[in-house]
């Protein structure tokens, strides 16, 4: 079926509508604050070959990583039946880190699956060493239950044995059960909408336009890259390891015609810390950076990724092999990969790329036991400064790059958990100075009302987010412990601690880097 310039635009709305509605359903029926308040999930539509057609993305790190889940599901199921739902979180077989549980299910036209719908949600606990499942681990097995791509539903029937096995391995089974049901509800809606669309417009037309949309996005992405100068642009950035060492990410962006290749040759090997990433996460970061530089509002689908190649040495920090620890790679290393990639691209298109943002998600998990004896696991991330860009100050107190989750309202979390927020504010002068100023970081202070286990995975505590073109770096982040007597101790960027009633934790997140010389700032 040839591409009609008008129907194409119509189908863009149709597919986007399906993914968007799946997302709304997941949000509204979810149970954990992480899903319903923070929107830490994505939903997508794939074609039969596993190419992404549309995505309702709140979380850029899912962008390039969801296709890997779909591919893993496709290769694990020989014969699909209506009502099948595959579930997976194994980072080395379609996942990115264990808390992100992905579901994939087929949509049939006649006897064959012609589409797949998928949802990925960050579950607040999947077992492992510490509550919240973002531990200071050294291998995958410490990070929680590993679910290979298997069917949680067969022919529409829940495999209860499997669900029981999963739930027995997590700290908060009821919440997990509710969140998994919410994911399933989102799939039912996605399937229903696609079926209706095919019924009304004919399967052939719907499939043809799924294909056209991918080509369309590829065409636009290539047109944009074609305008960038050919050449090789290099950048190196560092991760802060728990033992005080650094792990370097080296990238060379090779622009040739309408294609771009990110080559990570020279990047440090796998580390004995939860900071490794699988290839899909690295690809996500690269796709995200390229997507940010598009001038046009391009539908996000497999076509956007086609002109982008990602090459990484085997078993390195950003292309790890089983059983490397990856819990924090998805949330922290992904940010640094983005910084490195944008640092390289800034040399190619200097008028479009700005300074580094806070470069961390400040992942905080707090776990313990509630008054009624039930265990709890709370997860949140904290915003910080966005990097200044040519033409704009960085925003203050927001998530940058690979995340865009919301905060949990203080009045919601204090109702549920045994700690209290005593301060939530922007930090003055924490954004890097410049003609355009970096955004300000956040200070958030927690007072513990019970003994709890706290795990923190944060970055940019030793190296400040860099400025660009003469702009100053942003202020580094700090993690402070204040005991009942008021004594302050600085904690490292990554730690697990048991805190007592009366202890306070103060997290100061990094500011964004500034752009261009401050003396040229207009007043």
């Amino acid at each position: 079926m040839p591409r009609d310039a008008i129907l194409l635009e119509v189908y863009r709305h149709r597919f986007a509508g399906v993914a968007e509605e799946m997302g709304i359903t997941l949000q509204r029926t979810g149970y954990s604050p992480n899903i319903k308040e923070r929107l830490d999930f994505s939903c997508a539509v794939f074609d039969a070959r596993g190419r992404m057609i549309a995505q309702a993305a709140h979380i850029p790190v899912h962008l390039g990583a969801m296709p890997a889940s779909c591919a893993a599901a496709l290769s694990s199921v020989r014969k699909w039946s209506q009502g099948d739902v595959v579930i997976v979180n194994d980072p080395f077989d379609g996942g990115n880190h264990l808390p992100d549980i992905t579901m994939v299910s087929p949509v049939f036209a006649g006897k064959l699956p012609v589409f797949f719908v998928a949802s990925r949600a960050h579950h607040a606990d999947v077992g492992g060493m510490t509550p919240g499942s973002l531990p200071l681990s050294t291998e995958l097995y410490q990070e929680g239950i590993i679910i290979p791509p298997v069917r949680l539903y067969r022919d529409g029937m829940l495999c209860e044995d499997l669900l029981e096995l999963i739930l027995r391995n997590v700290r908060t089974p009821d919440e997990r059960r509710g969140d998994l049901a919410a994911q399933r509800a989102a799939h039912a809606i996605g399937e229903r909408r696609l079926l209706a669309c095919m019924q009304t417009h004919g399967t052939d037309e719907v499939l043809a336009y799924a294909d056209h949309l991918c080509r369309y996005s590829e065409q636009l992405t290539r047109a944009e890259i074609f305008q960038w100068p050919d050449g090789v642009f290099k950048f190196t950035d560092a991760m802060e390891l728990p033992d005080g060492e650094d792990a370097l990410i080296r990238v060379a962006a090779r622009i040739a015609g309408s294609s771009i290749m990110f080559d990570f040759a020279g990047t440090d090997p796998v580390v004995h810390a939860p900071l490794n990433t699988v290839h899909a996460v690295t690809a996500s970061a690269c796709y995200y950076a390229v997507r940010c530089l598009m001038r046009e509002d391009i539908p996000v689908n497999a076509g956007c990724f086609a002109p982008v190649t990602v090459r990484a040495p085997a078993n390195c920090l950003i292309n790890a092999r089983r059983p490397a620890a990856v819990a924090g790679g998805n949330v922290e290393t992904s940010q640094r990969i983005t910084d490195a990639v944008l640092g390289a691209l800034a040399q190619a298109v200097p008028d479009r790329v700005g300074a580094a943002g806070q470069g961390t998600m400040n992942n905080l998990t707090i776990g313990g036991t509630l008054d009624d004896g039930c265990p709890f696991a709370y997860y949140e991330t904290i915003g910080g400064g966005m990097g200044a860009a040519p033409g704009a100050d960085g925003l203050s107190g927001v998530h940058v790059h690979m995340s865009n989750t919301l905060n949990t309202p203080i009045e919601a979390l204090e109702l549920q958990f045994p700690f209290r927020i005593t301060r939530y504010a922007l930090i003055d002068n924490s954004g890097g100075a410049g003609r355009f100023q970096g955004g300000r970081g956040i200070v958030r202070e927690y007072a513990m009302l019970d003994s709890v286990t706290v795990t923190m995975l944060s970055e940019r505590r030793r190296y400040a987010p860099w400025g660009l073109a003469g702009g100053a770096p942003g202020r580094k982040g700090r993690n402070m412990l204040i005991d009942a007597l008021g004594k302050e101790t600085e904690l490292p960027g990554k730690f697990t601690r048991h805190l007592q009633t009366g202890d306070r934790l103060r997290i100061e997140t990094p500011g964004g880097g500034g752009y261009a010389d401050r003396n040229s700032r207009s007043t």
Binding site: I6, T25, Y31, E175, L395, H399, V400, I410, L415, R420
Partner: protein, 680 residues
């Protein structure tokens, strides 16, 4: 409605101020240019031109509050909040507005940091005082507020929705110390949990309230004693002196009149007492869509100026497609429409005011769906320039290898796809089947697109109001007088059912509050109660009606309604899961006006007399069709015809597609039915 009463509806829009005068069963209409600086000027002038005796009631829809926000012309406002949380307003939910943009425009918070003050005090999540209020700090804040020339204070403390003591204490202190400064308390505006949303809503009210209050005082004075009612965002009206205190409640009232008007028309044209409607208000830059399943649906989740506004408003979906939406061909050779709009200036190419990019209006013109000489009844000084529109479309078409007409059809199709998505969002995506709904198109361009959109959604009946251009002003006359309030009650529903009397007491208390805002002399006051419920552990609630008085049986019924609504919206429910109550809502209202059926025309005419032209129009790819073109003014009750046809009138054009049967009802509305017998 009692005979002899004079009612005037006045709706202020961006370009025109519309007047609808109702007297002795007769409706008179007047349009005048809106006076931007002071809306009351056009109102006074318009009323003089109408030369009416003193009205019994003037019902007014105003954009004073909305514009103050959009143009950032509100009062100099300060915020007083709990120590440690002055930045809650600027951090918001800590997400960035655009996912994939390295440079983003700054967010606006209405109140700069130096005017946000903290006081030492803290409640815990049970509403118990952890740190008592330190009144001595207020002195210092008062000095700074005076120095900064603050006109309005927003007060929002953490967990105040559980215990209002500290907020009221501060309020009393400032009322004594600086009585001239306006105050808004979060516990009065929105006693519900979620600190950012509550703070933002309180701040919005504080920001617009002085302006709204001044405007209404001026207007009331000029109207010398005539009763003035103001349209609220929830589709109800409120006496001006009440409305003046709650400015935030009229911020989203702009599109409310149209929805109320559509429901009013559908009720009186006997579609049903509880009509199932989808309204489609298509203007120049955007289209508003609402689904009314027998009643007007409300939501408390709205956003204005990047800030959440958690007050009841009519649930409306807005999309950026309107008559002025501009078309262009992008680098991949694909036709796109909007969201950029040509607005009123330069306007579409056919206005001949310098517009270059063809718009949806230009496309309609080239396809023959608009008559160049009939547009807005020729109230524009020149007819539309069809040749200019044609050549702009031909130019664009060159890049697509399409003719001007084919390009125009494409533009319509894409604009329709955008609107269709909005229609789907309010219908199928909420679990409502559009096939059992009637579409009510209004605004300048709605009736042109109504048949196409209905066909896409399988909607089988359409009601085109007699005066689609002034439906909002008509709606003002039909709106209920209504007000509402809410109170956070976070408890398991099972517990409430065990002791319904406790809830009953709260209901009585809130009933007294809302009833006090209504006129005392009317006796036909209706009180409706509802609970926001959710499965324990979820974060999003469904507002479920609750019968009064509060009884265990009634609450069981509310619970069943919740499960059903959850199933309808999300495709699943579970009667075994525990359900939690979050908020109690009480609404009080008096019914609005109803119009009597106009007397049948004494001299019925032939349909042929109403036909003014034959017009060549494009409705689909097949090419041009010769269709009859009727003058709306000459169509009479009982007339009926089958599409394709056009109906023209001064403020809109109705495109009747093939297979649609049109008939005129006693009120002059056009009712369209799909798949009608062609023999008719």
């Amino acid at each position: 409605m009692s005979p002899g009463r004079i009612l005037v509806g006045i709706d202020v829009g961006g370009t025109f101020t519309d007047f609808v005068l109702f007297r002795d069963g007769q409706v008179r209409i007047h349009k005048t240019a809106t006076t931007i600086g002071d809306q009351s000027q056009a109102i006074i002038e318009g009323l003089e031109l109408l030369q009416t005796a003193a009205a019994d009631a003037i019902i007014h829809g105003t954009t004073v509050a909305t514009n103050a926000l959009l143009e950032r012309r509100g009062a100099r406002t300060a915020l007083i909040t709990t120590e440690g949380f002055a930045d809650v307003l600027s951090i918001g939910r800590q997400n960035r507005p655009q996912l994939y943009a390295l440079a983003q425009p700054p967010r606006s918070h209405l109140i700069p940091r130096q005017h946000r003050f903290e006081v030492t005090e803290r409640l815990n999540s049970a509403g118990k005082v952890l740190t008592p209020l330190n009144e001595q700090e207020l002195e210092n804040i008062a000095v700074q507020i005076a120095e900064a020339d603050i006109e309005s204070i927003a007060l929002c403390l953490l967990f105040s929705f559980l215990n209002d003591t500290h907020e009221r204490q501060i309020s009393q202190w400032f009322a004594k110390r600086m009585p001239e400064v306006h105050q808004t308390l979060s516990v009065d505006v929105l006693p519900e949990y979620r600190e950012f949303e509550r703070t933002a809503t309180t701040v919005i009210n504080a920001y617009v309230q002085p302006l709204v209050s001044r405007y209404l005082v001026t207007l009331s004075r000029a109207l010398s004693g005539q009763t003035l009612w103001i349209m609220q965002s929830n589709g109800g009206t409120l006496a001006a002196e009440q409305a003046a205190r709650l400015g935030a409640r009229m911020v989203l009232s702009g599109p409310a009149g149209g929805v109320v008007g559509a429901m009013g028309l559908a009720r009186q044209s006997e579609i049903s007492e509880a009509p199932h409607l989808i309204t489609l208000d298509m203007g120049g830059t955007s289209t508003d869509v609402a689904l009314c399943p027998g009643h007007i649906p409300q939501t408390s989740e709205s956003t204005i100026c990047d800030l959440p506004l958690r007050l009841p408003s009519i649930q409306i979906q807005t999309v950026g497609a309107g008559g002025g939406s501009m078309a262009h061909v992008n680098r991949a050779g694909v036709l796109r429409v909007g969201p950029e709009s040509a607005g009123a200036d330069p306007g579409p190419v056919c206005y001949n005011q310098g517009g270059i990019s063809p718009t949806v209006t230009d496309a309609n013109l080239v396809l023959g769906r608009l008559r160049p000489d009939y547009f807005l009844g020729g109230s524009r000084s020149r007819p539309l320039d069809e040749a200019a529109a044609h050549s702009a479309l031909a130019n664009l078409g060159c890049r697509l290898s399409l003719s001007a007409e084919e390009t125009a059809l494409g533009i319509i199709r894409i604009a329709n796809a955008t609107m269709e998505r909005a229609l789907r969002r309010v219908s199928v995506e909420q679990g409502y089947d559009p096939r059992s709904y009637t579409l009510v198109p209004f605004g300048g361009a709605g009736p042109l697109h109504a048949c196409d959109l209905s066909e896409a959604l399988d909607i089988r009946s359409i009601l085109v109001p007699r005066h689609p251009g002034i439906l909002s002003a008509m709606g003002l006359l039909m709106a209920d007088v209504s007000t509402d309030t809410s109170q956070a009650i976070i408890r398991p529903l099972a517990e409430i059912i065990r002791q319904p009397d406790l809830l009953g007491e709260r209901v009585q208390e809130l009933k007294r509050q809302v009833a006090a805002r209504l006129p005392t002399r009317r006796t036909d006051c209706r009180i409706a109660a509802s609970l926001d419920l959710r499965y324990t552990g979820q974060s999003y609630e469904i507002t479920s009606p609750m019968p009064l008085p509060v009884t265990a049986t009634g609450l069981e019924q509310t619970l069943r309604g919740f499960h059903e609504a959850h199933h309808l919206r999300y495709g699943h429910s579970n009667a075994e899961l525990p359900v939690e109550c979050v908020t109690l809502r009480i609404q009080a209202s008096h019914p609005g006006a109803r119009f009597a059926q106009p007397a049948a025309d004494a001299n019925p005419t032939d349909l042929a007399d109403a036909q003014v032209y034959t017009q060549s129009i494009w409705l689909a790819d097949e090419g041009a069709l010769e269709v009859p073109c009727y003058d709306r003014g000459r169509l009479q009750a009982g007339h009926s015809f089958v599409g394709p046809a056009l109906v023209v009138q001064y403020d809109t054009t109705v495109a009747v597609n093939p297979r649609w049967q049109a008939r005129i009802d006693p009120w002059g509305n056009i009712l369209l039915d799909y798949g009608a017998d062609h023999a008719a």
